[in-house]
């Protein structure tokens, strides 16, 4: 089985099968580039991902491993509103996978999925964050995301007024 070494920003190396790695658009391109530039076809590719730390990379690879037999979602699927069919791909395993994560980890995972071009993971993580926003009040959103308002003076009220062209009342 052809393997590839994927190295995180903090130096941890993961040895994964090339078949699995190629489910990430980014890794697939890297492997192909390595093949073209390498004389030895047997050589094991080594890919450094400088933006993703080990813990997050481990999660991405774990997700890929679980979903290795799923059909690959095209990156531009349902491009019009930016979303793929997240519900369709979300299994019980996915829900258990995401359940213990705090929003900070989810954010990192989104960044990683975006960087590594893993459309399915990007969909379910974005969907998770969306569910934390939909139907909540502004204060509840701030609490959930541990954010503070940085509006000065009447800026917030002004923004609220600006929304009136679209919101009833």
């Amino acid at each position: 089985m052809a393997l590839v070494r994927v190295i995180s920003s903090d130096g941890a190396a993961f040895l994964v099968s090339q078949r699995l790695a190629k489910r990430s658009g980014k890794l697939k391109t890297e492997i192909e580039t390595f093949r073209k530039s390498s004389d030895n076809s047997e050589a094991q590719p080594e890919i450094r991902i400088v933006t993703i730390r080990a813990e997050i990379l481990r999660l991405v690879l774990q997700w890929l491993q679980q979903h290795q037999n799923d059909p690959v979602l095209p990156a531009n699927q349902n491009e019009q509103d930016g979303r793929g069919d997240a519900e369709m791909g979300q299994s019980q395993w996915d829900r258990d996978f995401l359940a213990p994560m705090d929003l900070g980890i989810v954010m990192e995972l989104i960044l990683a999925a975006n960087h590594l071009e893993v459309k399915g993971l990007l969909d379910i993580t974005c969907k998770l964050v969306e569910s934390k926003i939909t139907g909540r009040t502004v204060d509840e959103i701030r609490t959930a995301f541990k954010l503070k308002s940085d509006f000065k003076g009447n800026e917030e009220e002004q923004t609220r007024l600006e929304n009136r062209w679209c919101v009833e009342n």
Binding site: R5, S8, D10, G11, A12, A13, F14, L15, V16, L20, R53, A54, E55, R58, L59, L61, Q62, Q65, D81, G82, R83, A86, D96, F97, P100, D102, L103, G104, I105, M107, E108, I110, L111, N114, L122, C126, V129, E130, I133, T134, T137, V138, I141, R142, F145, K146, L147, K148, S149, D150, F151, E156, T159, R160, L161, E162, N163, R164, W165, C166
Partner: protein, 627 residues
């Protein structure tokens, strides 16, 4: 601002150290199925500007949000506001803004970046208002597609705002009369029927008014404008013909000009002077001889043309024009309702031409030039044309043409011989037709159609008096009916006037003309009686002809004036298994002529059937819609 999970940082680091110590970590061994999850150590929502901005993650998430939640997200903090605004702009593909919402919309949009606004529908009653001016000044540059309803007196103001719309790609302008109190003078004018005051086109650009306009709009340039559609009410009082001319002059990259509902003539040499290198779609009310010649001289790469020809257009000018555009043309719709000397002939190859519609054409038509030079033509429509002027001078045929619609309009009374000759020519010129529509079809014509185009999938005809059951069934039913001994009773109760041998109807023995079952591919059949005439067909057509069309998906039997026959729904239910739509219209339906059990039987047999049992309103436009 808080950073998520800071307290766990040291724990995380320990864990990471462990991992990074191992030189190689096979994923299959190291990845626990539900591993303990570290808390985030680096990123917080909307806090670390560099990451959030660089990768637009917030923006990606926001694209998943419905509009109301997006508006809420704007209130969380400044970064969220910024990203939410960007997504909002992209999401708002079609916005309808009324005057009262203009101020808020302007403020909301002017806060965000220069992301194009999709389609904006604006209804502004008073362009003088500060909000309207502010709107154009603030976000005019980011509008790509504008649909604007304007009242007449606002046109000069709009002209002064055009300079802000420098990125506009498409503009649709609908101009209305002002709804203000009539002045006494206007009232009298209206009462006395005097023509409304319309500032008609002034042929001289050096006119004092023009100079004023030219100076106020100096420097206004719409390099991105590709499409303009302008319409106004025909009796518009404060008309500004210059508006359209200015737009055309200021937009060198126009591809589409649609002035179908612009009742004023344009400056004669406008098309010649304007820098329109890419003009592909031209729709205008009417063209005069001179304009046609100028257009021909410019050799625009026109793909689509749509206009009426004025009575003075010369045959030579028209030929020149067609020749100049034949290499690029894909669609033609032309009317010429007064000049009999014009001839529609394609003298040169038109390899891209797909559709020709001569919607009111009194001149000649040379079918052989159409068949020979329009190799890829798929649809031809000839309406209100004189069958005597349609000719096939050389034997040419075109197998690509799949659709033909013919309507002889006022010329319907020509002799059957001429009609028959024309249909013969059509069959010769377009042998592979799949869709045919014709008005006032007779038995004989129908026979020609059935023989000539056996591959038809769609057949829509209207009839006046010439079509009978014999045309559809191929059986001389009227003659047979007189022989009372010949009768076969069907289980549904209907009787057929055919010989019976051993209790079986001998249908084929009496069939002497082509019958409709020849069209074995027919999926859509519609027959309509012309207004003022009887519906010509009876259940014999169903039982002896139509019942064999097993592929039929849609059947329409429309009678406008009289009581139509009581159609045997059982015959339809039992014989047409693929029927998805049945329309039976006559004036009797409202009296519950169809018994409940008949309809239920039909719907039980064909559960997916869309059934329209409608009383017919006398609708003069209906028969025209067919074509």
């Amino acid at each position: 601002m808080l950073c998520c999970g800071k307290s766990k940082k040291s724990k995380d680091l320990k864990k990471l150290n462990k991992i990074s110590n191992a030189s190689t970590v096979p994923v299959s061994q190291k990845l626990s199925p539900k591993g303990s999850i570290a808390q985030s150590q680096k990123v917080a929502w909307g806090d670390r500007k560099n990451i959030a901005e660089e990768l637009n993650v917030l923006k990606t998430i926001f694209t998943y949000l419905p509009t109301n939640d997006l508006l809420k997200a704007r209130l969380v903090n400044k970064i969220w506001n910024k990203h939410a605004c960007e997504v909002l702009r992209e999401k708002l593909e079609g916005v309808i803004i009324l005057q009262r919402g203009l101020e808020y919309y302007t403020k909301a949009m002017s806060k965000s970046l220069d992301i194009p606004v999709g389609r904006i529908f604006l209804n502004i009653l008073d362009m003088d208002e500060a909000h309207a001016q502010n709107f154009f000044r603030s976000i005019g540059h980011s509008i790509r597609h504008l649909i604007l309803n304007l009242e007449g007196h606002s046109v000069p103001q709009f002209q002064s705002h055009l300079q802000y719309l420098r990125n506009l790609k498409q503009l649709s302008l609908n101009l209305f009369n002002e709804h203000k109190e009539e002045s006494p003078a206007e009232h009298i004018r209206r009462k006395t029927g005097a023509t409304p005051e319309v500032r008609i086109f002034i042929d001289d650009y050096d006119d004092a008014n023009n100079n004023k306009l030219a100076t106020t709009n100096e420097g206004f340039h719409l390099p991105n404008l590709e499409s303009i559609i302008v319409s106004c009410e025909p009796n518009w009082k404060t008309n500004e013909p210059f508006l359209v001319e200015q737009l055309i002059k200021a937009s060198p990259n126009l591809k589409n000009i649609n002035l179908q509902k612009w009742p004023f003539p344009l400056k004669r040499d406008l098309m010649q002077r304007a820098t329109l290198h890419q003009l592909s779609f031209l729709t205008v009310g009417y063209l005069e001889d001179e304009e046609l010649r100028r257009l021909a001289a410019r050799k625009f790469p026109l793909k689509s043309i749509d206009f009426r020809l004025d009575y003075d257009v010369d045959a030579e000018a028209f030929d020149m024009f067609l020749e100049s555009v034949s290499s690029t043309l894909e669609y033609i719709r032309i009317e010429s309702n007064s000049n009999k000397n014009l001839v529609f002939r394609m003298q040169t190859k038109a390899p891209r031409l797909l559709i020709i519609r001569l919607t009111h054409w009194v001149g000649g038509i040379w079918l052989d030039t159409i068949a020979g030079n329009c190799e890829n033509l798929v649809r031809l429509q000839l309406s209100n044309c004189d069958p005597g002027s349609i000719s096939l001078k050389h034997p040419k045929s075109n197998s690509n043409v799949k659709g033909l619609a013919v309507n002889f309009g006022h010329f319907s009374t020509v002799s059957p011989k001429i009609r028959s000759e024309v249909v013969k020519n059509f069959i010769y010129a377009f042998p592979e037709l799949e869709s045919f529509m014709m008005r006032q079809v007779s038995d004989k014509t129908l026979g020609q159609i059935l023989d000539g185009w056996p591959k038809l999938k769609t057949l829509k005809v209207t009839s006046a008096f010439g079509l009978t059951d014999s045309g559809l069934t191929g059986i001389p039913i009227a003659e047979l009916s007189k022989m009372t001994k010949l009768e076969y009773k069907l289980p549904c109760g209907c009787c057929l006037p055919v010989p019976v041998v051993d209790d079986k109807p001998m249908v084929d023995n009496v069939r002497i003309f082509p019958h409709v079952a020849k069209l074995q591919n027919l999926v859509d059949f519609s027959i309509e009686s012309e207004e003022g005439s009887h519906f010509p067909l009876t259940n014999f057509s169903l039982h002896l002809g139509l019942h064999e069309l097993t592929k039929l998906n849609s059947l329409k039997l429309t009678c406008h004036n009289e009581l139509g026959p009581h159609w045997c729904l059982k015959c339809i239910a039992d014989n047409l298994p693929n029927l998805k739509e049945l329309t039976v219209m006559d004036r009797a339906i409202s009296h519950d002529r169809y018994e409940e059990h008949e309809v239920l039987y039909l719907l039980r047999k064909l559960p997916k059937l869309k059934l329209n049992l409608t009383p017919t309103n006398v609708d003069h436009s209906h028969s025209r819609k067919l074509f």
